[in-house]
Amino acid sequence: MAPAITLAADAPTLSSANTGFMLICSALVMLMTPGLAFFYGGMVRVKSTLNMLMMSFISLGIVTILWVLYGFSLAFGTDSGSLIGWNSDWVGLSNIGLTELWDGYTIPVFVFLVFQLMFAIITPALISGALADRVKFSAWALFITLWVTIVYFPVAHWVWGAGGWAFELGVIDFAGGTAVHINAGAAALGVILVIGKRVGFKKDPMRPHSLPLVMLGAGLLWFGWFGFNAGSWLGNDDGVGALMFVNTQVATAAAMLAWLIYEKIRHGAFTTLGAASGAVAGLVAITPSGGAVSPLGAIAVGVIAGVLCAMAVGLKYKFGYDDSLDVVGVHLVGGVVGSLLIGFFASGKGQSEVQGLFYGGGLDQFWKQCAGVFAVLGYSLVVSAILAFLLDKTIGMRVPEDDEVAGIDQAEHAETAYDFSGAGGGAARSNVTGPVADTASKKVDA
């Protein structure tokens, strides 16, 4: 996020252009969560499609309410101990003036808080891909509630809140490489180490049921990500937001190509899933770094992230953890790669004058990036694992094995994603005994 522009002479005034831009960016980031739902939903088997979609959608409900009640205050309120914020005026968003500006910026507080809300929504949704097919929906809803409260809100404060320790240390995280992607990836790893593998992992074929849905989701993510990244400068008065916009496109293109070439050499084909995954890996890696690197640097970040993530998604088979849809392989690895590469590729001509190793700046920034990366990774991994453990011991995290095998959609949501039978399969009969039968009997009475 941008350093506050505080020229003593002229304090920032409200900018209609920036305000309009940021409202549009907020809507773009909102669209990423349904996009993610489709990206993940296409990757699971037919029988758990709806559950996968719902694990993302429910975050739009829960996190929004928590954000209004206390989330915004915890993340961006007045700092205490460099660890957490609080501002009682913001509880319930009740004492915020409509024209009150976000401190040091040209947009209202209301605009800033709704933009940040969308980040808080998508971060827990990202975790869900690792937990496919097997988690009780009620346990997931409770997990999100607790996780954003004790992990996301504090970590967002560390990284972006005035007074947060990572912010003050000078860790660069333009749009959420640490707070969003490393945070979600590490949480995913923590949870799956506790809840274990899907029934049949490594034995049964678990290929994606709909790659067109995956491509649709990847497209929506790519589109929405422009709001996520370019919007994180909270305006474009100095052109840095536009640099971020360009680098987002450049790194994503490079990462998609890199992943495709890697897998053509390694596995013999340019796959659709590879293109979608490479694009997302590039988006993740440029998220922290896009304001600091040049467009050529963005190509380097994209290529490195594309190849490393393509290699990382195979690790789960080697080590035996069931990161179902590769949240660790893409978001954790991509986030770490993007955050650390700032230490090498920061050009000094973007968001700040900080230069990385390749631009003559030494390793100073690299060590700062390491501190941010590993603190968030460690905190999120450990706390998420403990949270999953406690939920598992109390209400239980997983659905019964029979339900998992038969399909979590039917067991948890009383629905199935597709009707494959031309004749309707007989489902209509149960409806007839309901409302239709009632209407019929009323007619007879009349």
Binding site: T271, G274, G314, G329
Partner: protein, 112 residues
């Protein structure tokens, strides 16, 4: 009467249909099926993980024929279905005791 069943490659369906129509067959039933023979499926790759897909898509065609036409009909189907590559499928026939046209109640060869 005979029931001729052919399990063949899906993309040969149109050729077979045309050949059967030219021969004078008035009706047939087609079902989407899956299975494997000597070709034993194929391999797919998802994020580097290789899956052996051993049940591959097939089309199952069923035709009723009079005893005298059966062998010739089988030849027609085989000729239209053949690509010469592994996985072309199989055709076989079975004796049929009775056939009834539902609309009219006609029985035996009249129902075909």
């Amino acid at each position: 009467m005979k029931l001729i069943t052919a399990v063949v490659k899906p993309h040969r369906l149109d050729e077979i249909k045309e050949a059967l129509q030219a021969f004078g067959v008035h009706g047939l039933t087609v079902t989407e099926a899956s299975g494997y023979g000597r070709q034993r499926g194929h391999t797919e790759v998802y994020r580097g993980a290789e899956y052996t897909v051993d049940l591959v898509p097939k089309i199952r065609i069923e035709v009723l024929a009079e005893d005298d036409d059966a062998e010739q009909l089988i030849d027609v189907i085989v000729k239209a279905a053949r690509t010469g590559k592994i996985g072309d499928g199989k055709v076989w026939s079975l004796p049929v005791e009775t056939a009834v046209r539902v609309r009219t109640g006609e029985r035996g060869p009249d129902a075909l």
